[in-house]
Amino acid sequence: MSTTTELTLRAQELIPAPDIEYGQLAPVLIVIGAAVVGVLFEAFLPRRARYTAQALLAGLALASAFAAVVGLAAAGRATTEAGLIAMGALAVDGPALFLQGVILLVSLVALLTFAERRLDPRAHGRHVDSFAAEGAAVPGGEGEKAAVRAGFTTTEVYPLLLFAVGGMLVFPAANDLLTLFIALEVFSLPLYVLCALARRKRLMSQEAALKYFLLGAFSSAFLLFGIALLYGYAGSVKYAEIASVVADTNRGTTEALAGTTGNDVLLLIGGALLVMGLLFKVGAVPFHMWTPDVYQGAPTPVTGFMAAATKVAAFGALLRLLYVVLPGLTWDWRPVMWGVAIVSMLAGAVIAITQTDVKRLLAYSSIAHAGFILAGVVAATPSGISSVLFYLAAYSFVTLGAFAVVTLVRDAGGEATHLSKWAGLGRRSPLVAAVFAVFLLAFAGIPLTSGFAGKFAVFKAAAEGGAGALVVVGVIASAIAAFFYIRVIVLMFFSEPKVEGPSVAVPSPLTTTAIAVGVAVTLVLGVAPQYFLDLASQAGVFAR
C-alpha cells in the first residue's frame, strides 16, 4: 500500500508524465481514431453495410480534421501562436498546418475516387470499385472468382487510407527524428498494401507493391541509420537540440559527448542518409526508380493519392529538416541539392518523352516536378518556403485530377493506359479530352494555369536566392517537358480515332466532383493566385 504510492511517487520523479496538448493534436487524432474505428467496422459490420459506413466515416473524419486544422490556423497557431507540442515531438506552425490542410483536402478528393464504383462494368449485378475483390486470392484463381461472385469488396482500403493520411499529417510536423521515422513508416506501410489491391492487372499491382515495399524498406533503413548517426552526433534527436549543436552553441557539455559530439563526419553522413530517405519518398533522381513502376502498377486512385499526398508530406518534412535542423549546413547541402534538382528536372523531362503509357508518363513528369520543387527548396529563403508550399498545393490537385481522368478512359481490359489508345479522344468525347488537356497544360506550366503560377513562384525564389543557373536549367527542362505534354494533346485532338478505341466511362458524381475540383483549383490558382500566395507566405515560418 504505502510502498506502491511510494513507488509511483519515485516513478513520477524519474519519468515525468508528459503533458500533451490534445487540442492541437486534434487533426491527427481524429484521422487515426477514425482509422481505428474503421478497422472495428471491418470486424463487426455486415459486408453490405461496410462500403457506405467506411466511405462516410472516412469522409467525415477527413472533413472534420480539416475543420480542426482551419480552427487551429484561425487561432493563430500558424503564425503568432506557433509552437512545439507534445514535449517538442511535434511542431504546430505555418508550414505544418498549411501542408496538413493541403494533405487533408487532397485525401478528401482522393477519397472520392476511391469510392467510385460506376466505372467498372457491374459484376453479377453489383457495382464494383477499382480494388480487388479479395486481395489475398490468387489472380484469376477460383478464390477470386468466388469472391467476385460473392460480391466481396476490399473495404479495408478506407482504414488504410486513413492510417496513411494520419502518418502524412504527422510527417511534415514531426519535430524530432523518432517521430519523423515513425510517421514515415505509418504512412508508408498502408501505401504498400494499397498498391497491391488493384482489381484489374493484379500481377502488375502486386509487383508494384513488392518493389515499393522492398525499396521503401531499404530506404527507410538508410534513414534510420542516418538518424542513428545524427543522434550519435548530437546526443539528442530533437531538431532544436541538434540544430543548436550544429550551430555549435553547446559543444561538449558532458565528458561523454566529447568523443562523438561535433564529429562533423557523423553529422554529414547522417544528414546525407536522412535527406536521402526523404528524397526517396519525393521521388527525386537518383532515388526515383520505383516511381514509374509503382505509379503504373498501383490502382489509379491510389496512384493519384500517392503522387499528390506523399509528395506534399515528404517535401514538408524535407523543408523542416533542411531549414530547422541543418541551416548551419546550408553551404554543405545546398550544392548537393542543386545537383539533385538539376538531374531530376532533366532526367524526368527527357525520359518522359518516349513513354507510351499515360501513368508512366505522369510518373516521369512527377519526377521532373520534384526537380522543380527542389529548385524552390534550395532557395533557402522565406520566399523559397512559401513558393514550395504554393507549388505543392497547386501541383497536388493537378495530379489528382489527371489520374482521375485516367480512370475514365477504359476498354475491355480495364483502364486503357497505353497512349496509342488515347488517339482521337478529343473527337469521341471532347469534354474529357479538354479537361485532360487543361491538366497537361498546367503540368507544362502554360500561363493562366496553376502550373505556371507555381513554376514562376519557385523560379522567382530560386533567382532571388541566387540560383540563376537553376532557373535556366529549369526553363530548358520545361521546354523539353512541354514536348511530351503537347504530344498527348496532339494525340487526343489531331489524330484519327481508333475504330475499336477505348470508351469513356460515365462516372458517378464522385469522380466528377473530384475532376471538377481539380479543374477549378487549377484555373483559380492560375488566374487569381494572390490569396493562396498570401496564405503560403504567411505560413512560411517554422517554429523552432
Binding site: 513488392l210 518493389k211 522492398l214 525499396l215 531499404f218 530506404s219 538508410f222 562533423d264 563526419v265 554529414l268 553522413i269 544528414g271 546525407a272 542518409l273 535527406v275 536521402m276 528524397l279 526517396f280 533522381v285 537518383p286 532515388f287 526508380m289 520505383w290 514509374p292 513502376d293 553551404w331 554543405d332 547541402w333 550544392p335 548537393v336 545537383g339 532526367a347 527527357v350 525520359i351 518522359a352 518523352i353 518516349t354 513513354q355 523539353i480 514536348f483
Partner: protein, 648 residues
C-alpha cells in the same frame, strides 16, 4: 487655275476607276467614256496652256499643294503639283497623242471582248504619266514612275492567254524595277543630304554638297532613266514589249512613257551640271544605245520589233542630248516631242497594216501594200521621212540640232559623240528605208503560204489560224484608225519647223530648262550637210539591198552581226547566263539549305533529345535490385558530395 492641275490627273484616273470597277454593264459604252475623259484632260491641258501663254515667261510656273502625303518627322512628302513649261510640254504631248490613240483603239480593239478593260488601263496610264510629269517632288514622281510601269505591265500583258505576252509583261516590270532601285536610292540620298526631295529646294541647293554626292545621285537617276527609257544595259524589255496591242506600243513604248527617263534627266539638270562624271555616263549610255538600237532595228523582220529598235535608238539621241548639259537639254525635249509624233504615227501605221493583214507582223510576208492601203502608206511614209530626218520635216530639225550639240561638246569626246550620232543617222535611214520597202513596195509576198521556219517566233498569229493558210485581203483601216494617223502625220511634218522657228521652243523652255548655244568645231552648216549625206548613204544602201532585188520570203542566215542583231545583240542570252541561271541555282540551293540546314538543325535537336530519352529509359530495366543499386549509388554520391563540400 491651279486647281485645274489636279483635274488633269483626276480625269483619266476617274476613267480608270469607273471602267475597271464598273463591270460588264459598261462593256458597250466603256471605250467612249475612256476616250471622252482622255479628251477632257487634253482640253484642260489646252486651257492651262493658253493661260500660261497669257502670262510673263518668268511667272509661268504654277504649283498646287493638294495634301500632305507622308509626314513623318523630317520626312515630309506632299502630294503637290508643279506645272511649268517643261511639264506643260509633256502634258500636251501625253494628252494629245493619248487622246488620238484612244480614238484609234476604238477601231483597233473593236473585236476584243475585253475592250472596256483595255481603255481602263489606257486611262490608268494617262493618269500615272501625268502624275509623273506634274509631280513637284521626286517621291511623287516615283509614284507616277511606278504607276506607268504598272500600266505598261498590264497593257503589254493584255492578251494574257498568250504566254509570250505574260512573260514580256513580267520582264518589262522587273527590268523597270531594277531601274527603280536607282530612283529610290537617289531619293534616299537626297533626303539624307538635303532633308527634302522636292524639286526646287534640292535643285537649288545642289551646289552646297560635294561633287561626290551629286555624282552618286546623278548615276542613280541615270540608272532609273535606263530602266524606264530602255537604254543600255536595261533595254532588253522593250523588244518583247511589242507583244502588247499596237496602240499600246505607239503610246507607251514610243511616244510617252519610254521618254520619261529623258524627262527625269532634264528635270534634274542642275544635279548633272554639278556632276560631270555623271554627265559623261549619260552621254555614253546615250551614244551606245542609239547605235545599239539602230543595229537591232536593221535586223528585225518583225515590223514592230524593227520600230522598237528604232525607238530605242531615237531615245538614245535624246539621252545623249540631255547628257550634254544646257547645250542639249532643250533639243532633247524637242526631239522627244517630234519623235512622239512620228514614232506614234509609224506604230499606228504598222498597226493598221497588221490590221489589214490579219495580224501578220513578219515584213517578209508583206510587200506591195501601198495600193491596198493608200492612207496608211501616205501617213507612214511621212513618218518615215520625218524620222530619217528628211530636210524640212520635224525629225530633221530636232535630230540635226542634237548632232550639232554633240559635236559642240568639244574635244575628242565631241568628235566621238558627233560621229556616233552621224553614224546613227545613217543607220536609221537604212533600217527605216528597209521597213518601208519591205512593207509597201516589191512583190506581194503574202499571196503564197509561208514556208514554216523554226527560228522565226513571229509567225504565231498565222499559226493561230489552225495550220492551213488563208490569203489575207489587205484593206484600208476604218476612219477611227486613219484619222489619228493623219493628225499625227501633220505633226511629224510641221512640228519641227514650228519649234525651231526662231528657236521658239528653246526660248519657251528656257525659264525652266537652261539653254546656251553650243559651238561645234565646224560650222553648223557643215554638220547639217554631213547629216544629209549620211541619210542619203543609208537610204541608198537600203535600196540596193531591198529595193533592187526581191526580198526572200524566208530570212537568209545572214552575217554573224545580223544574227546577233536578230537576237537583240545577245542581250537576253547575256542576262540569262549572267543573272537568270545563277539566280535559279541560288534559289534552289537556298531552298535546300533552308530545309536541310536551318530547319534540319531544329529537327535534329528534337531527334537528339528523343534518342537520348530512348537510351536513358533503358536504365529502368524493371529489376528491383538494380533500382536498389542506383539508390545505394545515389546515397554514396550524396555522402561523398557532402563530405567533399565540407572538405573544400
Amino acid at each position: 487655275m491651279e486647281t485645274l492641275i489636279g483635274l488633269l490627273v483626276a480625269a483619266p484616273l476617274l476613267g480608270a476607276a469607273v471602267l475597271l470597277c464598273g463591270g460588264r454593264r459598261l462593256d458597250r459604252t466603256g471605250h467612249w467614256i475612256g476616250t471622252a475623259l482622255a479628251a477632257a484632260s487634253f482640253l484642260l491641258g489646252a486651257v492651262l496652256f493658253a493661260d500660261m501663254l497669257g502670262r510673263e515667261a518668268e511667272d509661268r510656273t504654277l504649283s498646287q499643294h493638294v495634301f500632305s502625303w507622308i509626314p513623318v518627322g523630317g520626312f515630309q512628302a506632299d502630294v503637290a503639283f508643279r506645272l511649268d513649261q517643261l511639264s506643260m510640254t509633256f502634258v500636251l504631248l501625253i494628252t494629245g497623242v493619248g487622246t488620238l490613240i484612244h480614238v484609234y483603239s476604238i477601231g483597233y480593239m473593236e473585236h476584243d471582248e475585253r475592250r472596256r478593260r483595255f481603255f481602263g488601263y489606257l486611262n490608268l496610264f494617262l493618269a500615272a504619266m501625268l502624275l509623273l510629269v506634274l509631280a513637284d517632288n521626286y517621291l511623287l514622281l516615283y509614284a507616277g514612275w511606278e504607276g506607268v510601269g504598272l500600266a505598261s505591265y498590264l497593257l503589254i500583258g493584255f492578251w494574257q492567254h498568250k504566254p509570250s505576252a505574260a512573260t514580256a509583261a513580267k520582264k518589262a516590270f522587273i527590268v523597270n524595277r531594277v531601274g527603280d532601285i536607282g530612283l529610290s536610292i537617289a531619293i534616299m540620298i537626297m533626303f539624307t543630304t538635303f532633308g527634302t526631295f522636292a524639286f526646287s529646294p534640292v535643285l537649288e541647293s545642289v551646289g552646297g554638297t560635294s561633287e561626290g554626292t551629286a555624282t552618286a545621285i546623278g548615276l542613280m537617276l541615270l540608272l532609273a532613266a535606263c530602266g524606264k527609257s530602255a537604254q543600255v544595259p536595261l533595254q532588253s524589255w522593250l523588244g518583247d514589249a511589242m507583244e502588247g496591242p499596237t496602240p499600246v506600243s505607239a503610246l507607251i513604248h514610243a511616244a510617252t512613257m519610254v521618254t520619261a527617263g529623258v524627262y527625269l534627266i532634264v528635270r534634274s539638270g542642275a544635279i548633272f551640271d554639278a556632276a560631270p562624271a555623271a554627265q559623261t555616263a549619260v552621254v555614253t549610255v546615250g551614244a551606245v544605245t542609239l547605235l545599239f538600237g539602230a543595229i537591232v532595228g536593221c535586223a528585225k523582220d518583225d515590223i514592230k520589233k524593227a520600230l522598237a529598235g528604232s525607238t530605242m535608238s531615237q531615245i538614245g539621241y535624246m539621252v545623249l542630248a540631255a547628257g550634254l548639259g544646257p547645250i542639249g537639254y532643250a533639243f532633247a525635249i524637242m526631239h522627244l516631242v517630234t519623235h512622239g509624233f512620228f514614232k506614234a504615227g509609224l506604230f499606228l501605221g504598222a498597226g493598221s497594216v497588221m490590221h489589214g493583214m490579219n495580224d501578220e507582223v513578219d515584213m517578209r510576208r508583206y510587200g506591195g501594200l501601198r495600193k491596198y492601203m493608200p492612207i496608211t502608206f501616205a501617213t507612214f511614209g511621212l513618218g518615215y521621212l520625218a524620222i530619217i530626218g528628211f530636210p524640212g520635216l520635224s525629225g530633221f530639225f530636232s535630230k540635226d540640232k542634237i548632232i550639232e550639240a554633240a559635236f559642240a561638246k568639244g574635244g575628242t569626246e565631241g568628235w566621238i559623240l558627233g560621229g556616233a550620232a552621224l553614224l546613227g543617222a545613217a543607220i536609221t535611214a537604212f533600217y527605216m528605208t528597209r521597213v518601208m520597202l519591205m512593207t509597201f513596195f516589191g512583190e506581194e509576198r503574202w499571196r503564197n503560204a509561208p514556208t514554216p521556219s523554226p527560228k522565226e517566233p513571229s509567225v504565231e498569229p498565222a499559226a493561230e489560224t489552225g495550220g492551213e493558210y488563208e490569203v489575207p485581203h489587205p484593206h484600208e483601216s476604218p476612219k477611227s484608225m486613219t484619222v489619228p494617223m493623219i493628225v499625227l502625220a501633220f505633226g511629224s511634218v510641221f512640228a519641227g519647223g514650228l519649234f525651231s522657228w526662231g528657236e521658239a521652243f528653246v526660248h519657251w523652255l528656257e525659264p525652266v530648262v537652261p539653254f546656251e548655244h553650243g559651238h561645234p568645231p565646224v560650222s553648223a552648216l557643215t554638220v547639217t550637210a554631213a547629216t544629209v549625206v549620211a541619210l542619203l548613204i543609208g537610204v541608198g544602201a537600203a535600196w540596193l539591198q531591198y529595193g533592187r532585188k526581191p526580198v526572200p520570203a524566208l530570212a537568209p542566215r545572214g552575217s554573224l552581226l545580223t544574227r546577233a542583231a536578230r537576237r537583240d545583240l545577245l542581250q537576253d542570252d547575256f542576262n540569262h547566263v549572267v543573272l537568270v541561271k545563277p539566280g535559279e541555282y541560288l534559289t534552289r540551293g537556298l531552298v535546300y539549305l533552308d530545309h536541310k540546314v536551318v530547319d534540319g538543325a531544329v529537327n535534329g535537336t528534337a531527334a537528339a533529345v528523343g534518342g537520348l530519352s530512348g537510351r536513358s529509359r533503358r536504365i529502368q530495366n524493371g529489376y528491383a535490385r538494380s533500382y536498389a543499386v542506383s539508390m545505394l549509388g545515389g546515397a554514396a554520391v550524396l555522402v561523398a558530395a557532402t563530405l567533399l563540400m565540407r572538405a573544400v
